[in-house]
Symmetry: C2
Subunit: 211 residues, 2 copies
Amino acid sequence: MGPPITRRGIMLVLSSPSGAGKTSICNRLLQQETELKLSVSATTRQRRPGEVEGKDYLFLSTIDFETRINRSEFLEYAKVFGHYYGTPSKPVESSLNSGVDILFDIDWQGTQQMKAKAGQDLVSVFILPPSIKELEKRLFNRAQDTSDVVAQRMSKSAGEMSHYSEYDYVVINYDLDKSVQQVQSILNAERSRRERQNGLVQFVKHLSSQL
Amino acid sequence: MGPPITRRGIMLVLSSPSGAGKTSICNRLLQQETELKLSVSATTRQRRPGEVEGKDYLFLSTIDFETRINRSEFLEYAKVFGHYYGTPSKPVESSLNSGVDILFDIDWQGTQQMKAKAGQDLVSVFILPPSIKELEKRLFNRAQDTSDVVAQRMSKSAGEMSHYSEYDYVVINYDLDKSVQQVQSILNAERSRRERQNGLVQFVKHLSSQL
């Protein structure tokens, strides 16, 4: 058994219309994949009780956040209801360099921004619901929302869904276990892509030198 | 549970220096993956006892083979010790159209030829031995070859090994079970690539129409 081949980490992006089951898939992945860490976003919104600085979010002042925007220190960011949210690039870069994979639970807008900056490091997966009936059921069950809120979310889903065509992989979430396995296959396969295994050149050089 | 998404099949190419364990991996894959079929080559060499026409090989006359070359009916072909060997393109194309994956156990020369014709359908995996010691051991065990033959094969291996850099994925065969799993992950992941799932457009159209 030789030394493991060093490799560059992967930026694994999962997106979906709300209610397709993406968050459950993310949680399972993080439980089962020890080399996969969830990306920590920065935000300017108030910290809520129970939230831990640096774990749930990096809490920044608006001035600090805007300074970082001007220095291009975010892989993506957005302003939602008056608060900034974004992904700082430095911790991601250092994880990738040490072969740790990062999971991003972001929407298609964030994915578009990240794609432009991340290039080959980014692997994007879009989760689709198996049916509209199922989507509706999940949205109802989740937040005990009123019919109005569910109807609103459903109509938003239609717009989100159309962006599946910008993703590398598409998984239809018929069954949570199978969908988790499918994303794990994607992660495993991507880990053995030649261009990520940056220790290969050295490894083959070593093998050849003994022939 | 909705109807399964129709998808285009994959041309899965496995190559390796001799002795790296590729044939064992291929055999296991064919046992475990029901949607994966081994490509049947055509050849002009004599049929050997026990070989079945259309299963082991398509046995062709030299004239017939050369006519097919002139009609560009091969994905790749080569002449080895006076006999032609090649991969007819028609059966591959019809498998891909019906969503069946085809496994190719070919060398880097065949892969280069196929790549030029197959484009996105082709997924290439290179198997490397974990060490030169292990390679030597496997070459010895396999054919009870004499030291001279083994030495010859070893030196040929060096040349073959250098072509790993033309492949999409690289798997180092430390352990047969794990390597088989790794190739299965690659196959599974590639099956969920968006551009292969040609039924997706229709599926999403149907979902959206209900919103």
